[in-house]
């Protein structure tokens, strides 16, 4: 699924530039626990999270996450968005809950980190 389609499905707005909309994403994780993200095979995934701290961006960079969507209508603090811009990590904000975001993307064929649906 292209990142552009994911963004539309999640009614999300971009918080950084939109240079990555052609990115192809096949796997997705929903987590507020960064150590769990770091423990799993997260290369190239989409991360859905309600955690808006600057550590979300650092975790994403370390773990090789391709894009992040902040859920539940949360607005990250400026330093989080600033670091995402510097690190060229595409980040978005969705008004939907984590549950609804997961459901919509699952319905469109995205899998979990181990490829299961």
């Amino acid at each position: 699924m292209k990142l552009s389609e994911i963004v539309r499905e999640l009614e999300a707005v971009p918080l950084t530039d939109e240079d990555h909309l052609e990115l192809e994403i096949t796997r997705c994780a929903g987590s507020d626990l960064m150590s769990d993200v770091l423990a799993r095979p997260t290369e190239g995934i989409l991360l859905l999270t309600g955690l808006t701290s600057i550590q979300t961006v650092r975790t994403a960079k370390i773990a090789g996450v391709s894009a992040v969507v902040f859920v539940r209508g949360k607005t990250p603090p400026p330093e989080t968005i600033e670091l995402a811009r510097t690190e060229r990590l595409p980040v978005y904000a969705s008004p939907l809950s984590l549950f609804v975001c997961c459901g919509r993307l699952h319905g469109r064929g995205l899998t979990g980190l181990d490829g299961r649906r």
Partner: protein
């Protein structure tokens, strides 16, 4: 090849900058064209150890050494130390406070993650004496790489 060592100071409770050293280590290793899977394992361990030092550690230092056959990440801190290392290694065991949890850490996964991703993990610590976490990652010659 001569080995290269880089050192980064770590500041206790500085959550705004916590993780910067590991991001720099990751960027450096990418410029050295190491295997991406190896870089990922090193970056994860480095970041977990760095977060531990910032959360629990008092001030400290992260040291990365790139040698011909291995990469060594050593994180030293002057913090409270670990009373029972075996207990600290148990997945889910944590003494982290609310601030660490708000950052998505403190779930008792840091040390187990480090153990999983490093080829070797050595922990040296005692109450009041700080902690030293030393992790070794072996660089395998190309012919031994699994396809």
């Amino acid at each position: 090849m001569a080995s290269v060592t880089k050192r980064f100071p770590l500041r206790a409770r500085d959550f705004l900058h916590a993780g910067e050293a590991s991001i720099q280590v990751q960027a450096f290793l990418k410029t050295m064209r190491l295997d991406p899977g190896l870089i990922r394992r090193i970056a994860i361990c480095s970041y977990e150890a760095e977060m531990n030092a910032v959360i629990h550690g008092g001030n400290g230092e992260l040291e990365m050494t790139l040698a011909e056959d291995r990469i060594v990440i050593e994180v030293r801190d002057e913090g409270a130390g670990i009373a029972d290392i075996e207990l600290a290694m148990q997945p889910g065991y944590s003494t982290a406070d609310e601030t660490a949890r708000e950052m998505g850490f403190g779930a008792g996964m840091g040390l187990p993650n480090m153990k999983t991703h490093a080829d070797e993990l050595e922990l040296a610590s005692a109450p009041g004496r700080g902690t030293r976490a030393r992790m070794i990652f072996r660089r395998r010659p190309p012919q031994e790489k699994t396809p």
